[in-house]
Symmetry: C2
Subunit: 311 residues, 2 copies
Amino acid sequence: MLKLPSRVKIREVGPRDGFQIEKEFIPTEAKIEIINALADAGVSDIEATAFVSPKAVPQLRDAAEVITKIHRNGAVYSALVPNFKGAQNAIAAGVDEIVVVISASDAHNQANVRRTVDESVADLDDIFSLAAEKSIPVICSAATAFGCPYQGDVPESDVMKLVDAYTSRSAAAVILADTTGMATPTRTADLVKRVKDRYPDLEIILHLHNNRGTAMSNLLVAMMAGATVFDTALGGMGGCPYVPQAAGNLPTEDVVFMLEDMGVGTGIDLESIIRASLRLEKIVGKTLPGQVMKSGPRDPKRAAELCGIIP
Amino acid sequence: MLKLPSRVKIREVGPRDGFQIEKEFIPTEAKIEIINALADAGVSDIEATAFVSPKAVPQLRDAAEVITKIHRNGAVYSALVPNFKGAQNAIAAGVDEIVVVISASDAHNQANVRRTVDESVADLDDIFSLAAEKSIPVICSAATAFGCPYQGDVPESDVMKLVDAYTSRSAAAVILADTTGMATPTRTADLVKRVKDRYPDLEIILHLHNNRGTAMSNLLVAMMAGATVFDTALGGMGGCPYVPQAAGNLPTEDVVFMLEDMGVGTGIDLESIIRASLRLEKIVGKTLPGQVMKSGPRDPKRAAELCGIIP
């Protein structure tokens, strides 16, 4: 009854979006262990870290070391870069792709980086030049594409203007990011459809936070509207530093469970990704939002063995 | 793009499904306060308690007192009854409807009530006779309709056999219950469609637990497949006594947020239901799974005032 693709791509963002907001510094070896476990489970694309100021984000001060020491076994490893210097460092460290972020909402962009959207867009040119020179694809994220915690609604024309700025600079893909979980299925389907109509060949990535419980439903309808790439985070790591009890990203293992059960291939092994998530919970020392690692796969024997579920 | 109804009915089950698994006895006055707050927020149907053995479920030993003392201001109040004695007590206390539950899975029914499905179905006749005599509608729940934590898959023929048993006894409505969160959107859409095809005039209620992160997506596709009644629980109360960290029911306020944002009317006021959920968290003394009460409505001013969100 549901029109679904036979296969989608999962972009794991936990090592960047999750580790950056942990209060304690996660040891470099633990970060590498998780990133390698993700790749071993079949995750093909991993946003492994961010090349940001060590003063601003000390949790990721080991970005270069992480990129240098992880296994490079065929997965595509990207890093978020906030500026030209970050792009230089990321490319020097050997990333496969870089990720840039600008908010569709001026209010949010000002609050985040004290620049207007237009100023941030202008800053992209040097980054794109460098990336082109080094043959490094640039993935471009439009934050607050579905709503902004400062201004509320974000006009679709503002989102499209930013998407236009990205595509005119030969973005490898555009991320529509629901930064604080304000999307619902109708908003998601509408925006995906409009961007797809305008740029039929553009790779659209959905980055969906679960602050209001709608993220998985948004993923489902985005997929029905033609999107085939999704950002997720192991265990549902990440989220809002200012709403610590709020849910973060879509948990990778929950997405794999749902998609594989519906016959949508992810290339990711469910049991391996559950094990990685259980290990992650031990590393961060707290309960994460992911549900499948708590209740296990459908098979009661496997749920018992993997997750200790004895009904 | 999405085919959605203009209006659905929310059946609140938190006061029964939630309070029954709390370790501490929730004071009767607090239960009544929450039930009244739900009705004041616009919830039209509330499963308020269960008439079960006070020894087996001491948390609900005040069932008759709750039913007697709540405001009766137009909402429909039901109670779960496990047997004939429970039905007698519920009706004597003055409930508007009773709810009976049998598992579609023999293994689950045996584990729960030490009876086969056929034995439990046979027990229904006395309950239905009593209810008919007193003109009390009987809502009939098919537990584990999408999977069983003991046997795994539950054949659709077993689910349909139980639905047949219910409809042949003039059930007022049938609940398809995903008791431990094993449904995914394709499974949900398929079963709703099959039951609707077989019984076009039957009121089908979906009771969706979120143990594997899929419940909201299941609600969405069930709605697209024609279902218009959903069980939810304030704050996402309830769930699995044997997987305490697992998510429970769909949080009422999260469902109201998503549906109203999509133009699907619920008759429930979002801000009032958020306030009720925040109050509930204080009463139960712990963080509940509901997300909207943590992040607030879309409007930043309302989110700040209701939920203290300062981005």
